[in-house]
Amino acid sequence: MAVVAVLVLHGLLALAAGLSGRRLGRRVLLLVACGPLAAVVLLVAHALGLLGSGALATSVSWVPSIGLQFDLVLDGFGILFWWLIAGIGLLVMVYATRYFAPRDDLGLFASMLVLFAGAMLLLTSTDNVLVLFVAWELTSITSYLLIGFDDHRAEARASALQALLVTGAGGLALLGGLLLVAGSAGTTSLTGILVVAPTDPAAQAGFALVVLGAATKSAQVPVHFWLPGAMSAPTPVSAYLHSATMVKAGIYVLARFAPAIGPVVGWWAPVVVGLGGVTMLLGGWRALRATDLKELLAYGTVSQLGFIVLLVGHGDPELVHAGATLLLAHALFKATLFLAVGVIDHQAGTRDLRRLTGIARRMPTTALALLVAAASMAGVIPLFGFIAKEAALESTLHVGFGGPAMTAVVVVGSVLTAAYALRLVWGSLATKGPDEVDDDVVEPREVARPAPGFEGPAVVLTILTVAFGVWVAPADALVVGATTALVGPEAADIHLRLWHGFGLPLLLSSVALVGGWVVWRWPGSVRRVAVVTARVPDMEDVYRGSLRGLLAWADRITAVVQPGSLPLYGAVVLSTVLLLPGVAVLRNLALPEGLVVAESGLQVAITAIVVGAAIGAARVRRRLSAVLLLGAVGYGMAVLFVVQGAPDLALTQLLVETLSLAMFVLVLRRLPERFESTPWRFGRPLRVVVSLGTGIFVAVFTLVAAAANRQGTAAADFLERSLPEGGGRNVVNVILTDFRALDTLGEITVLVVAAIGIALMVRTPVEPDERGEVGP
């Protein structure tokens, strides 16, 4: 139940932060930090063995009929993720109290942040794929709101929308995929699906959709472009969501599926590993050309995410082990880098590396943290990033088929990583010559020294990066727990080591570092390749183009189907009535039995008067005449009702007709005497055809409907039950007030609504319209 309590706490904190944000000011961020803090306490208690064995598993029934069980199982892989989510979340929330100037909407920010943390914890601890999807979407939505937090900036809004559209589309793909897979496996339990490991065509299509959804979330090529755009978010958000946690949700799903699905579905490993490899190279390449430090980090993240996908996507235990290690290492060093760059941005007012110089001397603590983290990213011994890279190279070298290609990609990717790590360190910290910076450079003495609390979180993460490198046991325990949860107990023997001895992995690591230095030192080669790649269309342009195209297409369709002419709309509605039910009537043409021309001369006479008056009402040009003729139609109808044996109807008709007439006369008093002859906007013949067609259709329908009635009527039943059950002799009245009283209630409601509308329209003062005219 402890897991549930932590999740519920996140929800409550989100609510509390939203409500009390104004009163608490920046302290609201410390309030929401209690959520991750509780999760950390739980994790520590578990690590120390203080909790019972069942403490991390819970099942709550939600909607059992569709297999929606709130199954929470926190296994080793989940614990690794929980450490990242809660640990980095805690630090980021503390960091954010210094990052933000006091502002009114911090409560909302804190609320979204803790809601995201809760959603992410749920995502990584549920065993039900439907709950997983709900949590997945919750992270997309909170990510959208957090990217667009500075909603007065158009760029932030556009980036937020872009991220939402891309990850939202991916979410739909994931939902479709999970449903297909769950349908094939016959269970919505994640572990259940992995045990069954279905391979029928529907399941295969489902897996493809899952890969697609995971790729959008984890910013894989070609849907990676939303992540650099998401850098419009405040830096704490970038550090937390867009490097350490949310973007790893896709990896989480892929890593869960890969060990069970990779061996049985032939295309899985090549596709997923290929996806990761291409992403690793492309992201590293783009990072080399960024001038905005956060953009550089974003492309670096894309690259590293590709690296992790490449490792975990295969499903081989050793590779998965390396992937889990890199997952941890990347979260540590990349969050540090974001936090450090955030400090620089905050103090210097820019994060453009062409405007920064001499930062290292102004903030040595942050500079040191950034340097160590970048070194870990590049794979410098003895940092934790080095261990992860060694483990990766060691495992790719052991893979049989495709191993050499994977190793090559990892080495080239590492060269790029080392190069952009150098570019990052140089760009953010170095004291540069006058030809290396722009004219509007920020002078180092203008940069204020950061407060100690602001630099603290990055320092904590840096210490971990160093500590895990030297003292590997705690990290090893986490990673081994995660790997055994994914691939089974046979992975328990794979352990992390700092020193693998002089072998091929060490050689390749060194090659990557030297190569990175060469690439960074001689940027001319980069520029030459860039000229070639500039011809390839950018995916972001494709996204923008398709979005524009969609909107233009919508405009075009609207222009056609919504011309704004009421008569035309009427014609369309009537034509639909004519065409659809009309065809059905034509297919069942039949004349009713006992068809007579008329029952009495009176009937003929009255109907002739009614129709004649109606024609007159339609033709006359004087308004009053038209209304009087309409009255004639109504009174004629009343007489017809008497002839048909319906005195109640006749009575009502008389009353209503008189009222209507009074109403019409009241209004027409004001209107001009004659109808204006307005020009025909669309063909008169069309109106003739549509109205005549409607009339003929209804007449035929009347006959066909009567012929179709073989059951007789309910009259006898009503006549019999009226007195004993309704207590009245007038059967029509009893039906209205008793048998079908709800109809009458609805009728009265319609009248009340109409009366309110009439009163408002008549009594509200008239405002001048666009032409500036006001009537009496």
Partner: protein
């Protein structure tokens, strides 16, 4: 079933539909009222042939069907409410614009005009580009942000 009544219903529907497709709100209201009369008659004739007044205990064979009468009664009242509502609209339209005609929706027409303009622009641009095609081919791809994909 009585042929005369079926024809009357058809005639009322024809006239009502015709008036519905007019621009004057007053005429539309009149059309709706006439359409309503047709509908009421349709409901009533669905009950079969005319007969005696439906009073409890009467012989079902000779009385008219009470259920369609109840439905038609409801319909009469609702038609009355709708007519009143539309008349109030016509009245307000008159007060505001000295006019009770329903004009085309301005926003819709603006959108259609914008789409037309866009098409014309594109056609013009394409003609221009076709004329300068050779120059565009020689244009070099520069080094700038946003290269690959």
């Amino acid at each position: 079933m009585i042929l005369v009544l079926a024809c009357t219903i058809g005639a009322l529907y024809t006239i009502g539909a015709w008036l519905l497709m007019q621009r004057s709100l007053t005429r539309i209201v009149i059309g709706l009222a006439i359409l309503g009369h047709g509908a009421n008659l349709l409901l009533l004739t669905a009950g079969g042939r005319a007969g005696g007044v439906p009073i409890a205990g009467a012989d079902p064979a000779t009385t008219s069907d009470p259920l369609p009468q109840a439905l038609a009664l409801t319909a009469i009242v609702i038609t009355f409410g709708v007519s009143g509502f539309l008349l109030a609209m016509a009245y307000r339209s008159w007060r505001q614009r000295r006019d009770d005609t329903v004009e085309d929706d301005l926003e819709d027409r603006r959108l259609a005009a914008a789409v037309r303009r866009l098409d014309q622009d594109r056609a013009r641009r394409e003609t221009r580009e076709a004329a300068h095609g050779e120059i565009a081919d020689q244009h070099e791809v520069g080094v700038g942000p946003g290269g690959d994909g």
